[in-house]
Symmetry: C2
Subunit: 368 residues, 2 copies
């Protein structure tokens, strides 16, 4: 890993807010978006943090596929459910307001569910489920995304990498937080292998002839050309459970679109038939479950914590140092980073400087 | 596959009911249990059908670890939630009454959730979610089970094969029905490989030294001795997404125990410290989501059906005949079997005859 300078959390937060504001995002919304992006860095999930600030958000506001002002239409609302049209605004802003509503509903009714359509990238899925967890509840969410995953026995990129995310309260210092794609890896992991000059493990990607590829540079090239696809957890075929991963990816594809009646799969490519940019029109779903309507939050936390401690204490494979539970590595990353700030790679440094200069903002970064 | 004689659905159903009754199960409950077991055969899931009738249900009633009369205590109930103590009675009976309640609640409130503890094997998880689907709703369920699955970087059997099951309505002749363990395979699949004289694929099982085994006979022997464990989807380590499968298995372990405050993992072994049988005390959870409280059932069905049709029509790998969606193979099995009846293997034939003779029931099977 390259040695990267750190930028303080406060500085990065206010810089991001100022840039979002300069792009036309209202201040309150800008604060939400900056917090979602930085939460990813706080957890050490570098694929969804400040590295995405420019390419996934600022560039898309620039090219018109992401509207800085989020017009949220509540299309349907009941005591336990909400359907929202995000009108191609900021997916993070729409999701924040959705979760606020659902947590309120679940505090009164015990259960709540929501669906958003015509949305855009909503950041790390685990941010939304953690909002529920911080309120003492279980959060579940998923989102569709542009097509890149092939079904079992197929080779065509059809579904998104579709995370199915759960965060649950425990009696420990950090929650159970399971936040990942239902594909084995995402694009970002293959880009990482390429940067490290490493091959991609076999059976993560399927080619049109049904084979696999391991040359990371070549995979990225063929992915862009639509000539290969990612595989869901379990890999190709059925022998190693590939149809199970495929099932999970499909569940997320259905729930993300069908509750709200939004678009799906090929309709989410972000390109029209002539290859021009168009709105992504993503869909997300959210469920909140309040343990107080079962045997109570304390019971839930103690039981969940007991399970996680027993798992960590179980017999390790020779050479394995440690058994982790979901969310633990993220908490460790935060312990390491909380006093240091955000590590910023060379390419992100350049992006930040360019944005500062473009918007004539008054920041001097420690890496200058 | 051996050539197996068929027994008519009606005959098998009334035979199972009569045997359950002879064991002390009330008639109404016996009808539920027979229907759950036969639904597995109807779907072609032979690991959970009439082959389990004697070993998992009758034998356990005999040895006292399954009580034929199911005393169901509602420990907590709110407009959207139920917690039930099944008092070590029939898990299928408790689950049936739970789902009836939740469907009623979700028809009024849109969302409902339930947890059962001190339960026993509840049959195919997909039976419960299909009850919701038949009522026009989404069903989600999971259950814990005796420990057999190791966490990532671990080798000790800690968690059950923990299914995480979703059934969702579509506009097709059959629903989306995803019903399977979160481990790559279950015991039953390895038994199948052994019967066929085939090796088990690599990386489905982990040994104490962190390696894998492929000798199916030896795997079963070592599993019984606790010397190896099953792996969650994605396999050992992290490179092929093993931590994701491990995450899903853990989610089911937590929800199955923590909502109700019931026991978990090693406590569910069915054996006390002296190796004597004890109650299994399993836990299950259930969520029901009513699409009418979102954009409506018709919208949900059309969108889900559209996704599934597009997946099936997508480009196939060379040599692949067909792309399936979850639940399709089960529907195909039913088309083949509905007029023929239940195929009964030689070992099951013997069990049925022994039960008939033991309880002096007036049945003559076609295979006699």
């Amino acid at each position: 890993m390259e040695e990267r300078p750190y930028v303080s959390w406060d500085m990065m937060n206010s810089f991001m807010i100022d840039v979002f504001k300069a792009c036309g995002v209202p201040e309150e919304d800008a604060a939400i978006c900056a917090d979602v992006l930085l939460e990813s860095d706080r957890r050490g999930i570098e694929s969804h943090g400040c590295n995405r600030f420019k390419p996934i958000y600022i560039d898309r506001i620039d090219n018109g596929t992401l509207l800085p002002v989020t017009k949220m239409d509540i299309v349907k609302e009941t005591p336990t459910t909400v359907v929202m049209d995000a009108n191609n605004g900021m997916g993070m802003v729409a999701s924040w307001h959705m979760m606020k509503k659902l947590i309120e509903k679940a505090s009164v009714y015990g259960m709540a569910g929501g669906a958003i359509y015509n949305s855009t990238h909503y950041g790390i899925a685990g941010y939304w489920t953690t909002m529920a967890e911080k309120a003492g509840m279980i959060g579940i969410t998923g989102t569709n995304a542009r097509p890149s995953v092939a079904p079992t026995w197929g080779v065509e990129p059809m579904m998104g990498t579709n995370p199915l995310t759960f965060t649950m309260p425990t009696d420990e210092e950090f929650p159970f937080n399971f936040d990942c794609a239902t594909s084995i890896v995402q694009n970002g992991k293959i880009e990482y292998y390429e940067r490290m000059g490493k091959p991609t493990p076999e059976n993560l990607v399927i080619t049109k002839d049904g084979g696999t590829m391991t040359d990371s540079h070549e995979i990225l090239k063929q992915m862009r050309a639509g000539n290969c696809a990612l595989l869901s957890i379990g890999g190709a075929g059925e022998d190693t459970g590939g149809y199970k991963g495929y099932g999970f990816t499909t569940i997320v594809e259905i729930l993300s679109a069908a509750l709200a009646g939004g678009p799906y799969m090929k309709e989410l490519s972000g390109k029209d038939e002539n290859g021009n940019n168009k709105m992504y029109r993503l869909g997300h779903f959210f469920f909140v479950i309040n343990p107080e309507f079962f045997m109570g939050l304390d019971t839930f936390k103690a039981t969940a914590g007991g399970i996680l401690r027993d798992l960590r204490a179980s017999e390790k494979a020779p050479g394995a140092e440690r058994i982790y539970t979901a969310g633990e590595k993220e908490w460790i990353a935060w312990q390491d980073r909380k006093d240091k700030g955000v590590p910023v790679s060379e390419s992100v440094q350049k992006e930040l400087l360019a944005l500062r200069n473009r918007f004539q903002l008054n920041y001097t970064f420690p890496f200058e």
